[in-house]
């Protein structure tokens, strides 16, 4: 009996191995394990075995059945995977064909603006808005720019009326902020400004600035340097250095122009920095006492610093854009480059 069963296992295993389709395998299963299958018949014949041997023989038959079932299951798994794989391979497509759903892009200048805002917001600065069409009061008077100052000349400023102009600087936003909130103030104000310059490779009649202002007790010029130095490192590269050069703005005293070590050559000198190793990026200084007191802030208690960055300029520096007019043209080939 045992020999017969082991022969069945052997024979059936050989057949399982040879089978190549799920259907054949299922047929075999029925043939061997089905109602009238070989093993089933043996099991049924157990009643003829004497009672003493019956459990032993029964176990042998059952073990054989389990063994064969497992073998069939295993083979079935193999065959199903193969058949599925064959079926999938018939569905193979040409993956080199494109169907594009492009994701658009912000204008490069606004990407730069976001990056700048990110830095200052993380440092505790609020972001304020102020009008693009502004009064001479906010744009000039309150910034200590007297009525006879050349900056007010119509060749620099677009006038709507005697008192209403297109703002020439985001600094007007400083005043509006200081009128609304009292120290401690940490704010930036990015926005569009206007100067009556004919468009050429380095000028456009509208462009963008970002104003910054800090007013609090004990603010020093070293704080200005530290803040701008961190900004430059965030903005350009971790090893960027900054340099202060004395300058003059009516609304700050002392005033400085701020240079960063050239982002293209690292300060060795190249055609971008005209061989100097430095690129001018912004103007800054300690808020003029007259400006503070004009806004109702006591300059004997509070000091502060302010700065104004040309966003178009730093965008141009970072991306190497050598014509200020191109970013305003909206040529899709330009926009897609970034």
């Amino acid at each position: 009996m045992e020999q017969k069963i082991s022969e069945i296992i052997q024979r059936t295993t050989l057949r399982i191995n040879a089978i190549n389709s799920v259907k054949e395998l299922n047929d075999l299963k029925v043939e061997v394990l089905g109602k009238s299958g070989e093993l089933t018949l043996i099991l049924r014949g157990l009643k003829d075995v004497n009672a003493q041997d019956r459990p032993i023989v029964g176990k042998i038959v059952n073990d054989a059945r389990v063994e064969l079932e497992n073998a069939i299951e295993a083979k079935l798994g193999v065959l199903e995977r193969k058949e599925l794989n064959d079926k999938l391979m018939k569905e193979k497509i040409d993956i080199t064909i494109d169907r594009k759903r492009p994701i658009g892009k912000l204008h490069p200048l606004n990407e730069i603006k976001r990056k700048a805002i990110d830095f200052f917001v993380c440092m505790g600065f609020i972001v304020t808005d102020s009008p693009e069409i502004e009064t001479t009061y906010y744009n000039f008077d309150m910034l200590n720019i007297p009525p006879d100052h050349p900056a007010r000349e119509p060749q620099d400023t677009f006038f709507v009326t005697d008192e209403i102009i297109l703002r020439t600087q985001t600094s007007a936003g400083q005043i509006r902020t200081m009128e609304k909130i009292k120290p401690p103030i940490k704010m930036i104000s990015p926005g569009r400004v206007f100067r009556s310059d004919e468009a050429d490779a380095t000028h456009t009649p509208c462009f963008h600035q970002m104003e910054g202002l800090v007013v609090d007790k004990g603010i020093t010029m070293c704080d200005l340097k530290g803040t701008l130095s961190s900004f430059a490192k965030h903005f350009f590269a971790a090893d960027t250095k900054i340099r202060f050069r004395p300058s003059h703005f009516p609304f700050t005293e002392p005033s400085v122009e701020v240079d960063v070590s050239c982002v293209h050559c690292g300060g060795k000198g190249c055609n971008v920095c005209k061989g100097t190793g430095w690129i001018e990026i912004l103007g800054a200084g300690m808020v003029n006492r007259k400006v503070l007191s004009g806004c109702g802030i006591d300059p004997d208690i509070y000091t502060g610093f302010a700065f104004g960055v040309g966003l178009d300029r730093i965008t141009a520096i970072i991306h190497g854009i050598n014509d200020a007019r191109v970013p305003f043209e909206g040529d899709i080939r330009f926009l897609k480059q970034f």
Partner: protein
């Protein structure tokens, strides 16, 4: 401001190189814009003497010269006809290089070898003011006493360096050679030598006109008089200095006034004494008054303008230009010299209004001070005497002015700067700048010289100190004393950025255009005559007509960008712009309303109305803003393929296919342009709301398809609305097909919809579903006479 190094050397003695001086200037806040070098790019040009001059045998116009250049005699062919034997001339030898880059080579000219070239002034890049005779059309004939064979640069002292320096608006005192010398001396820690201000007064026989000032625009007017004037050319060194500073030499008297303007920064005016009738009156112009200026032009004056007059006529427009007949001529015997101060704004307005600028008016606009008024006049008198132009017969110094003083302390200065600068450094810097410093422990009492009107309080002194102490010595700190502040964007700013991000996700690229445009765009957009958008804010002084009004819409700018792209053969793109439009009641009295506005355009074959609609409605859906859609009357849109989007009864957006006429007006050749504009307040002014979670439905939803036949005129929107209204259990209705054609009679369409039922409290059974569908059908039948498609 031009600064010739040779002139600077009158006041400081230094071995410093030009680079050192440039660095010093940069370090203290004066940008060197250009270093101009004369006499460079000249090599192998020497002084020569013509010892023989013969006609060229084979050329009428050429001459063969033998030129002695010291160690040899060269044969040189020249075409010039202004040379003769014994003339001293510049000779470019074989291999010489000239400023225009030309190299001179020995070569035969009509059969005779020429071993060099005789040079003109032009070929050496110099003119009469630089070397006399250099402007002559021909060879430059040099002084007889020059050394034969000497290098021309050395012989003529051609190696001049001039720095072109930009001066910040607060430093009018540095629009002068001496003012800059003072700064450079402080920076390089050198002593400064004053110019010569000394002269002797000669006996006077003529009456000196007195001065009456009847305007507030002239705070001081000082005068002096020089007699026995001999008008001639000024000396070459003076002419050369004027020339290097872009002033043309005229005669000795005028040149002295210009020289002082450059050196001390004081504009002077020299009148011919004999045309002054009686006394000088400084007054405002009368209504309708006119004057003919030195340039021969007649100017109609306004009453705010200041005039220098005698008792019967105006002599000069104060600070701007002299009158035609009051100037210096060859017959001038006595000079009345004015050194005055006029208010900056007044000169600026006058000069602007008349369109008349002079070196004098430019300086007055920048500002003069009491130092320059006094010392400028004295310097001129010293020069009149030194150059023997005339005898100083009258001079009257100005009244002493109170000296401004500022009380501060070293700690106050250091507290602003953030570093500790030693007291001795602070004091020494201020003193070398000409300030007097009284010290009491840490307290400083600083007297400010008259030429530093820009210094007003301790922060100005702090700036002077750090300028010379060096910004590089400053530390980097991060506001250790400041309070905690919470940074961030406002909701408006966040929402603007959110909208932009959504547009990017829709595949649109952001553009940026100017805020101004041309009035003509409204006709191009076919706007009606009474359209509010035509009331744009006008710029009073635009650059040009096409940039003359502030935008009231963004569509025209977008269309121009589309046109540009299409002309450049860029096709298939989506663009957006989010910018301000400006609305105001005209004439403008108050600041206008600046509205955040979005414009979107879709260009390309695969775009259609529903794409642009999905963008605008998608944005509103994202912000959970409910809206309604109506047909649009926007004139620039296709009347059948356009929609208005309302929130409540407020129109906030219009979009659709661009009207073919507008396409044409903007030079757009494609027809499938979809465009729309939305005002963003509805989003930007939205308050932040916190979403409260609703439990998800527990019971399975059911979907049923429905196909109905309705009249063509019935809109899908109305059908969907009606279905939704028929039972609140209906959560969503989705169109999946519209069919026209066979089996459907003309004028009708078959509409297939998927209806989703979401039960709240139980699982729906078939009979309930059938009831709801029955309600739907009867609603559709009643409203639209719809019938089920079998």
């Amino acid at each position: 401001m031009k600064l010739p190094i040779s002139w600077l050397n009158d006041f400081i003695e230094t071995e410093a190189s030009v680079d050192d001086i440039c660095n010093a200037l940069t370090g203290i806040g004066f940008e060197v814009e250009e270093v101009i070098k004369y006499g460079i790019n000249i090599s192998n040009v020497v002084v020569g003497k013509i010892i023989e001059l013969m006609p060229h045998p084979d050329a009428d116009k050429l001459k063969v010269c033998k030129v002695d250049i010291g160690n040899e005699v060269l044969t040189v062919i020249t075409g010039a006809d202004n040379v003769k034997v014994n003339d001293i001339v510049p000779v470019a030898k074989d291999g010489a290089v000239l400023p225009n880059g030309k190299t001179i080579k020995a070569a035969p000219l009509r059969g005779i070898m020429s071993y060099g070239m005789l040079c003109s002034g032009g070929e050496l890049n110099i003119n009469d003011a630089f070397v006399s005779g250099a402007s002559v059309n021909g060879i430059l004939i040099l002084d007889g006493d020059l050394k034969i064979g000497e290098d021309i640069i050395k012989a003529l002292k051609l190696d001049e360096t001039v720095l072109d320096i930009s001066i910040t608006a607060n430093r009018s005192d540095c629009h002068s050679i001496f003012g800059l010398a003072r700064e450079i001396a402080t920076s390089l820690k050198l002593n400064i030598k004053e110019p010569n201000f000394e002269f002797t007064l000669a006996a006077n026989s003529e009456k000196i006109p007195s001065v009456k000032i009847s305007t507030s625009e002239c705070p001081v007017y000082s005068r002096s008089m020089i007699s026995d004037i001999k008008i001639e050319e000024s000396p070459k060194w003076m002419q050369r200095r004027l020339f290097m500073c872009d002033i043309n030499p005229i005669n000795n008297v005028v040149d002295i006034t210009n020289y002082v303007l450059l050196e001390i920064g004081q504009p002077l005016h020299a009148f011919d004494r004999k045309i002054i009738n009686g006394n000088i009156i400084v007054r405002n112009a009368s209504v309708g008054e006119k004057i003919t200026a030195l340039n021969g032009e007649e100017y109609a004056l306004s009453p705010y303008m200041t005039l220098i007059c005698d008792e019967e006529k105006p002599l000069a427009i104060a600070g701007v230009m002299g009158g035609k007949f009051s100037g210096i001529t060859n017959d001038t015997k006595t000079v009345f010299l004015e050194s005055a101060r006029f208010n900056r704004g007044n000169i600026r307005n006058t000069s602007l209004k008349l369109g008349l600028r002079s070196d004098s008016s430019k300086k007055f606009e920048r500002g003069v001070d009491y130092y320059s008024v006094e010392f400028g006049r004295r310097r001129a008198l010293a020069l009149f005497e030194q150059l023997g132009v005339g005898k100083v017969v009258y001079d009257c110094p100005i009244d002493e002015r109170p000296i401004k003083s500022i009380k501060t302390s070293t700690s106050q200065i250091n507290a602003l700067l953030g570093i500790v600068i030693p007291k001795k450094d602070i004091i020494s810097i201020l003193e070398t700048l000409g300030m007097k410093v009284e010290v009491d422990k840490n307290e400083l009492n600083v007297s400010i010289p008259a030429y530093r009107e820009d210094i007003d309080n301790y922060t100005d002194l702090a700036e002077e100190v750090i300028r010379f102490y060096g910004y590089d010595k400053m530390n980097e700190t991060f506001m250790p004393t400041s309070s905690v502040t919470i940074g961030g964007l406002t909701y408006r700013q966040k929402h603007i950025e959110d909208i932009k991000d959504m547009l990017c996700a829709y595949g649109a690229y952001e553009i940026m255009t100017y805020s101004f445009t041309d009035e003509k765009v409204y006709d191009k957009l076919c706007l009606l005559e009474n359209d509010r958008r035509r009331s744009a804010i006008k710029i009073r002084n635009p650059i040009s007509e096409d940039l003359s009004i502030m935008k009231t819409e963004l569509v025209s700018g977008m269309l121009s960008v589309i046109a540009t792209n299409l002309t450049r053969r860029n096709d298939n793109f989506r663009l957006f712009e989010l910018a301000k439009v400006y609305e105001a009641e005209l004439p403008v009295k108050d600041l206008p309303n600046e509205r955040d506005t979005l414009c979107v355009s879709l260009v390309g074959g695969k775009e259609d109305f529903y794409e642009i609609k999905s963008i605008f409605t998608g944005i509103l859906d994202n912000f959970k803003i409910a809206y309604t859609i109506k047909s649009s009357n926007e004139p620039y849109l296709h009347p059948g393929i356009s929609a208005d989007l309302y929130v409540g009864d407020k129109l906030i957006a219009s979009f659709g296919k661009l009207h073919p006429s507008v396409c044409k007006n903007f030079g757009i050749k494609k027809s499938d342009i979809f465009i729309g504009q939305m005002h963003c307040e509805i989003i930007t002014e939205q308050k932040e709301t916190v979403v409260k979670y609703k439990p998800l439905p527990k019971f399975p939803s059911v979907e049923r398809d429905l196909a109905i036949i309705v009249n063509e005129s019935i809109t899908i929107g109305d059908i969907v609305d009606a279905i939704k209204k028929s039972d609140k259990i209906i959560e969503n209705v989705e169109l999946f097909d519209i069919y026209r054609g066979e089996q459907i009679e003309k004028g009708y369409k078959s509409v297939a919809l998927k209806i989703k039922l979401v039960p709240v409290d139980k699982t729906l059974i078939d009979s309930e579903i059938a009831d709801i569908m029955g309600k739907v059908l009867s609603a559709l039948k009643n409203k639209f006479d719809a019938r089920v498609r079998e």
